[in-house]
């Protein structure tokens, strides 16, 4: 029962690479992802890192994991539990023990199951010898030893040798799933083009791992996962944070506005800054400011001077930006604030996901200060939403808050590539030289005011945070004017619902249960509702991307359903927002606050009880 048997074809499989943070699991996971994507699988990935950079080696706190779900069918989530776990040490096994499927395969690096390693992970006895893993198929691979062995003649340092053991693990998994090694070989050769010794070593270990799996009789079979039937077109794999960055550049090209990012590093949003910082060749300006406040203020300054100013952050940083966001609302300047949400309050759970900044996005500022709020819902549609956020902010001259989360930002999936031609036009609202410019004169239809860009002759004017007189924009403390301006600012946002598409429903228009979600929970909600529909259940899903304003058919849509449950990764912020807007409708809630996404299993079982 080994290499010559016919591989078993699987519809989908979930694999998790887990090890100490220094074990290179993110690299193995990313390589497996790329190779599977090139083979045409649909997929979804999710990395989970430790919050501390240098958590003690070998401890549970130091475990870094990368989960990937691949399939020949449509894949919407990184998967609830793993079919295959690679555990590079006891801590990695222990922390993932509960999320492996019964009968699943566990590949352990047996060399790191010494007494000391076991103690560090908090095991009294080795789980490999006490029958506690009987319900799994455990493969004990001497990964460290064979890695050292295969590189014993190389000139690499013992540290470099030890660091290549992730390639051994990757080799095993490549063999198990009949994946070609060339994409990874090419990648390594390119990455270490100047350090050929390292490149050679890594590739050798990759092959050693592959051959090890091929030779030993431990695997009852290997597997294949055929390519998925995706819509025709050109694809690539994309991560949420990357897609957000690209959407902004696309909007900048489309609108003819230079892109300016003012930002301060913060987990899990920094990757947007890193990504945009690469593209000076496209004229992108990134400014790593001295703090979060300077990040947003510099972006507002850049917008005032004619750029598309944006700022990126996560929860705590978003709190710091509140005052400046209010100024952008008062001065009615373009600005996109991206909040890649994480667990809160305070520093909270920096590396974990949550949807708990919704109320902050809607109301977290002094005064009546309405902003547009939009949420991304898949790693790849982050591209569309950062593009749309830019379009709205430039055409309405009002700030837009774009909510993503750690799960979307770090997650990845195949993306049918869009070109700039596919994207809608963006027409910034700008006054021209020679116009009789009144800073707060508005477009009758949209209520948007025009910008006059410094450098334009004859349009000199002053903006500021003090209340503006209608039309002239002069400072005004007049009470009636203030009320009027508050109403205009709010009305202007409401009018945006005129241009946003109507809210769609997946499932029947009169199903017994309507599931409501918003933002990053889309994958798990869709999968569970889809499963239940296939089981014949009367259930439907609607996922919101436009939060403020809501699509204009929202009330009519809600009225069609007798039972509604709002599912979100907070204690009910969107449910309360809906209650406030649609009094009389009963919204049940399903909430989770564990820093983790919903699993399809827990959703399905909850929906079933609601349907009974």
């Amino acid at each position: 029962m080994k290499k010559n048997t016919e591989p078993i074809d699987l519809e989908k499989v979930v694999i998790k690479f887990a090890g100490d943070s220094g074990d290179g699991m993110q690299f193995s996971g990313n390589q497996f992802t790329n190779t599977s994507a090139l083979l045409g699988n649909d997929l979804s990935t999710f990395p989970d890192y430790p919050a501390e950079i240098r958590a003690p080696q070998g401890t549970i706190a130091g475990v870094s994991g990368f989960q990937i779900h691949i399939g020949s069918i449509h894949i919407n989530t990184p998967g609830d539990i793993a079919d295959v776990l690679v555990a590079m040490n006891p801590a990695a096994l222990k922390s993932n023990r509960k999320s492996i499927k019964k009968g699943g395969i566990i590949i352990v690096n047996i060399d790191s199951f010494t007494k000391k390693d076991l103690e560090k992970a908090g095991y009294d006895n080795s789980p490999l010898s006490d029958n506690s893993l009987d319900e799994f198929q455990v493969i004990e691979a001497p990964i460290s030893k064979l890695t050292r062995e295969s590189l014993k003649d190389s000139k690499l340092s013992s540290k470099s040798i030890s660091q290549s053991k992730n390639m051994f693990a990757l080799g095993i998994v490549y063999w198990m799933f009949n994946r070609p090694m060339t994409p990874t070989e090419n990648f390594i050769n390119k990455k270490f083009s100047e350090k050929s010794e390292i490149a050679k070593g890594n590739i050798k270990v990759l092959h050693t791992g592959y051959n090890f799996a091929n030779t030993i009789e431990a695997f009852s079979s290997s597997y294949t996962v055929k390519s998925a039937k995706l819509e025709k077109g050109r694809y690539r794999n994309v991560m949420g944070n990357q897609a957000i960055a690209w959407g902004f550049i696309a909007a900048s090209e489309k609108s003819g506005k230079e892109l300016f990012l003012g930002s301060y590093p913060i987990t899990p949003a920094s990757d947007i800054l890193h990504e945009l910082a690469k593209y000076k060749n496209l004229g992108v300006k990134t400014f790593q400011a001295e703090d979060e406040i300077a990040g947003i203020c510099s972006a507002i300054g850049a917008s005032f001077a004619g750029n598309l100013g944006i700022t990126t952050t996560s929860g705590p940083g978003f709190s710091l930006k509140g005052e400046a966001l209010g100024l952008a609302i008062m001065t009615e300047l373009p600005l996109v604030v991206v909040d890649v949400q994480r667990g809160g309050p305070s520093t909270g759970l920096p590396t974990k996901t949550e949807q708990s900044d919704l109320m902050q996005a809607l109301y977290g500022r002094n005064g009546e200060s309405p902003a547009v709020v939009i949420a991304c819902s898949t790693p790849s549609n982050c591209f569309d939403w950062s593009f749309m956020a830019s379009k709205i902010t430039l055409e309405y001259n009002t700030p837009v808050i774009l909510l993503s989360d750690g799960y979307l930002g770090n997650g990845s999936e195949p993306w049918k590539i869009k070109t700039i031609k596919d994207m809608p036009d963006i027409t910034p609202l700008i006054a021209k030289e020679g116009e009789n410019y009144q800073p707060y004169l508005r477009d009758k239809k949209t209520l948007a005011r025009k910008l006059a860009i410094p450098g334009t002759k004859g349009l000199e004017h002053r903006l500021g945070g003090l209340e503006k007189e209608d039309i002239s924009g002069n400072v005004s403390y007049d009470s009636e004017n203030h009320e009027k301006m508050c109403n205009i600012r709010s009305e202007k946002i409401k009018k945006i619902s005129e241009i946003i598409p109507i809210q769609e429903v997946y499932g029947k228009t009169n199903a017994d249960l309507l599931v409501i979600g918003w933002g990053g929970t889309y994958g798990s909600l869709y999968s569970s509702v889809d499963n239940l529909i296939n089981e014949g259940k009367s259930i439907a899903l609607t996922q919101f991307n436009y939060i403020h304003p809501l699509p204009k058919n929202t009330l009519e849509l809600l009225n069609r359903y007798k039972k509604i449950v709002v599912c979100e990764l907070n204690s009910g912020q969107f449910a309360n927002y809906l209650r406030m807007n649609f009094q009389g409708i009963i919204f049940e809630q399903y909430n989770k606050l564990q820093g983790l996404p919903f699993t399809t299993l827990e959703l399905e079982s909850h929906f079933k009880t609601l349907l009974d």
Partner: protein, 334 residues
């Protein structure tokens, strides 16, 4: 180039500073200085934070932005990076720049972004009605500290020099001529030009700078520095500054064998800031206060660094559009 005058820079807004406030003289000097810069009116942008001084942009008929407390350097940085052709002026006070905005202030100086900062130092909070500020003299009694402050004040010059400032000047609000000439020089300096203006708040801290600006003795209390010129001052122009060991000293030319050649010659372009710092720290009655351009050194600006990187990448990268980026790397056809 059209001929601009003071009037072109005067807005139609009613000025709301207290009568007798030093801010009027500063505004006037600015409106007179700008036409001398050979720039177009639409290229000037005035940015402020919050405070009495921060109303300044409303009174200038240029592009202007009255932003939020302490953050003006960040707005100015964004504006300058977005359009480096603009002449960007930040108007701030001792509370705005050195208390709530201290962080942005030092980072602007450190980066040497090409903007001009006017620091109206009146050593008090005016707009919020009279609390002590980070430059208030120790022990001063105010509403927020009726028993006298126990805070040690900042020295703006030391803070600036410690932040790698490339241009530091000091003026008094009673000398419009000096203000005008320094505004012009500040604009011509590439990098962050910081001008500390000792500004009298008639309402909450009147006469604080009298020891420097008092009509009867100001000639003895002010040393107006000029690059390349000996540091001579006094009503009879016979006093000078010399270096005695590691300390500055006031000497009288003609007394005790002191000759004019013994007096220090001002070198604003000296990279080493030690002497600039010592000069800026001088205070009456022992010393005259140093006014004029104390430090002006050449240093690459932040904005030119950013822009030259962009130019270089644009020329040398094979990718010119986002479409090309998206289609590069691992892609596949279905």
């Amino acid at each position: 180039m059209e001929n601009l005058t003071k009037k072109d820079f005067t807005s139609d807004q009613e000025i709301r500073w207290c009568p007798g406030c030093g801010d009027y003289a500063i505004l006037n000097s600015m409106q007179k200085a700008l036409p001398n810069l050979g720039r177009k009116k639409e290229e000037f942008v005035f940015i402020s934070g919050i405070g009495c001084s921060s109303r300044f942009p409303y009174y200038m008929n240029t592009y202007g932005f009255h932003s939020i407390h302490g953050r003006a350097p960040a707005f100015a940085t964004g504006i300058k990076l977005a359009n480096p052709n603009l002449s960007v002026w930040q108007i701030t006070g001792d509370g705005d720049a050195l208390a709530i905005g201290g962080n942005h202030f030092i980072h602007a100086l450190r980066r040497n972004i090409d903007i001009n900062i006017l620091l109206f130092n009146n050593e008090i909070y005016g707009l919020t009605k009279g609390q002590f500020s980070p430059t208030s003299q120790k022990g001063i009694k105010t509403k927020s500290n009726p028993h006298g402050t126990t805070d040690t004040p900042f020295s703006p010059s030391d803070l600036a020099i410690g932040s790698q400032s490339s241009f530091f000047a000091r003026v008094v609000d009673t000398n419009p001529r000096l203000m005008q000439s320094i505004f012009v020089e500040a604009e011509q300096h590439r990098g962050t030009s910081l001008i500390e203006i000792l500004q009298n708040c008639v309402i909450f801290n009147d006469k604080t700078f009298d020891a420097i600006t008092g009509k009867d003795f100001k000639k003895d209390a002010q040393l107006i520095l000029e690059d390349g010129k000996p540091m001579i001052f006094g009503s009879e122009m016979n006093k000078g500054i010399t270096l005695n060991g590691l300390k500055l000293e006031v000497v009288t030319i003609g007394e005790n064998g002191v000759k004019e050649e013994d007096v220090l010659v001002h070198d604003a372009k000296e990279e080493d800031p030690t002497l600039h710092s010592m000069l800026a720290r001088m205070q009456p009655p022992e010393f005259p206060a140093a006014l004029g351009i104390i430090r002006s050194v050449k240093r690459k600006t932040f904005d030119s660094g950013v822009l030259s990187q962009i130019e270089h990448e644009k020329e040398n990268s094979k990718f010119k559009t986002i479409d090309e980026i998206i289609n590069s790397g691992d892609t596949w056809e279905v």
